[in-house]
């Protein structure tokens, strides 16, 4: 009995500690970033360009860069993931599906730096030579590789959601003479939309939060990219690049604005996923 209570207390302590870390993290960023909120400086930082030579430390280019790269990654990964998860759930269930699924699960375990490394030596020269414009370090390269990085997250969520659609729905559709393709489009995908959106939101969180791929492949130019072949910098890469500067400088303080933005995005994504999962209710 005593041992049980001890264990209970230990687990409670662990839970409280880990939960408070996330809250403390936000408090830390807000307190250290407080000077930014005085005198409306934060609005200038959010909207201005990054030109340290002219004492302009705006993070607007980084916000655009982050959104552009993450959006491209999702645009690449979404059809790919939907296709692969349909293959697993519908087209070829059984041995092939198991094989594909374990390959996808294996992909989640590959360190990000490996994707980055392969990207630098294979995709960057390919993009540079194919489009004959720029250095190959650009939104397109980073978006493509990031798409491959986030695809497994989507595939695993999508295929689980497709598998959870009640079997009776499927049988009914088949009894009406629906082909497997029709079953997929009219029954399974509409029935699994919550899981699909959840996977998409989680993948978006991962795409926005990734640091290394953007740092290695996007070029890191602090400009608003004019197209997919332009060099761009993400918020995360910006933090990594500026963190070694003088702690007292304004450029260092803008990092807290980047941190708070990233925190807010992740929090919003988590809340959205919770709401969706909550609505699914007991069927889960």
């Amino acid at each position: 009995m005593d041992g049980e209570r001890l264990a209970q207390k230990a687990f409670l302590l662990a839970a409280v500690l880990s939960a408070s870390v996330t809250v403390l993290l936000l408090a830390f960023m807000v307190i250290l970033g407080l000077p930014l909120f005085q005198g409306g400086l934060v609005f200038r930082i959010l909207t201005a360009p990054w030109l340290p030579g002219r004492q302009l430390f705006g993070i607007w280019p980084m916000i655009v860069g982050t959104l552009a790269i993450a959006a491209l990654a999702l645009a690449v990964a979404f059809p790919l993931s939907l296709g692969v998860s349909s293959l697993i759930a519908v087209v070829a269930p059984g041995r092939i599906a198991r094989l594909v699924k374990s390959a996808v699960a294996f992909m989640t375990g590959i360190p990000t730096v490996v994707y980055g490394f392969v990207g630098v030596f294979l995709l960057v020269p390919l993009v540079r030579e194919t489009f004959a414009r720029g250095s190959g370090l650009c939104v397109l390269t980073a978006g493509l590789v990031l798409g491959i990085l986030v695809a497994p997250t989507m595939i695993l969520f999508f295929s689980d959601a497709l598998a959870r659609v009640p079997r009776s729905d499927r049988i009914a559709a088949e009894a009406l003479g629906a082909t497997p393709a029709q079953v997929l489009i009219y029954v399974l995908i509409p029935g699994a939309w919550r899981g699909i959106v959840t996977g998409l939101v989680l993948a978006a969180g991962r795409a926005v939060g990734d640091t290394l791929l953007a740092l290695m492949l996007a070029g890191n130019a602090a400009q608003v990219p004019g197209g997919v072949l332009d060099s761009a910098r993400t918020l995360t890469a910006h933090i990594a690049l500026v963190i070694a500067s003088d702690f007292d400088s304004l450029e260092f303080k803008t990092l807290f604005a980047c941190g708070i933005l990233l925190y807010a995005f992740t929090a919003a994504a988590t809340l959205a996923v919770r709401r969706l999962a909550g609505k699914e209710g007991p069927a889960r």
């Binding site: 030579g53 630098v120 004959a132 890191n220 060099s231 990594a240 690049l241 963190i243 070694a244 500067s245």
Partner: protein, 277 residues
């Protein structure tokens, strides 16, 4: 690359050699029988030299602990000044204001040049300073204008905290503009990789980093090499500094003395810098 950044951020405690070898060089004799810790932080260009020196000292006397952290030149000056570390490293000379505010003692133990580099296949391997400024400002944006292929020039630069960038910007570009479309890489090593892989690139690295994978570009007719930096013919150079708050005492004193000893000079030269007295 990520490792490089973490390297800057996190303190690296040197723990080398379980087997304690007897002190061989005379310059290491000062550490004999001593106990304690030397804390070092700051400029990242200094780290290879610091680590090698620490390794040798620790091998001679395992009771001396030496911790080496990065953080950049600004961090080195600040932490030395506030007494957070025993020795702060800087890739730029601290300002008179910083020296008087903190009472810093400045030791310049090496010279380092910053050389412009291009891909080895690039026929453009000599530039005037005005041309270089126009390239980085973005007014010249095609190699054809310089006698090269009809390809856009891909600019590469370093992050804001880089001492290498600071010296390139002030001495090669005369504090001129660096166009916002320039790609930014986080270390000297990453710069070399980027330029070696991009036939239309132009970038700059510490002279110690130049090897066969990239081609040095002569600036106003002077090729950046250890010799031209040493003679002063190549102008884009800087000192590597170590700073202490007031006159250094005990282990910190001996560490700095070691850098100026023949063994220290050998380490500095070995890491691609020019030792100075």
């Amino acid at each position: 690359m990520k490792t490089g950044l973490w390297f800057k951020a996190a303190a690296v405690v040197i723990m080398v050699g379980l087997a304690a070898l007897p002190a061989s060089a005379d310059s290491l004799a000062a550490f004999k029988g001593q106990k304690g810790e030397v804390r070092i932080s700051g400029g990242t260009a200094h780290i290879p030299v610091m680590e090698e020196a620490a390794k040798r000292i620790r091998t001679a006397n395992p009771d001396v602990q030496i911790s080496i952290a990065g953080g950049g030149s600004g961090v080195g000056i600040k932490q030395a000044g506030e007494g957070l570390v025993d020795i702060g490293n800087s890739g730029r000379k601290p300002t008179d204001e910083e020296v008087s505010k903190y009472g810093l003692k400045v030791f310049r133990w090496a010279l380092d040049g910053v050389g412009i580099v291009v891909h080895p296949d690039n026929p453009v391997q000599s530039l005037g300073k005005d041309r270089l400024k126009q390239i980085y400002a973005g007014t010249i944006d095609n190699w054809k204008a310089l006698g090269g292929p009809d390809k856009a020039i891909n600019l590469y630069t370093r992050d804001e905290a880089s001492g290498t960038r600071d010296v390139f910007w002030s001495k090669a570009l005369d504090k001129g503009e660096i166009h916002a479309r320039a790609n930014v890489v986080p270390s000297n090593g990453a710069m070399k990789t980027a330029v070696a892989n991009d036939p239309y690139a132009i970038g700059y690295v510490s002279v110690g980093h130049i090897d066969a994978t990239v081609a040095p570009v002569a600036l106003d007719g002077v090729v950046p090499t250890i010799e031209t930096v040493k003679s002063g013919a190549y102008p884009v150079s800087r000192g590597l500094f170590s700073l202490t708050k007031g006159e250094p005492q005990g282990l910190a004193r001996w560490f700095i003395d070691y850098l100026f000893s023949p063994a220290g000079h050998e380490i500095i030269a070995d890491k691609g810098f020019i030792p100075v007295d």
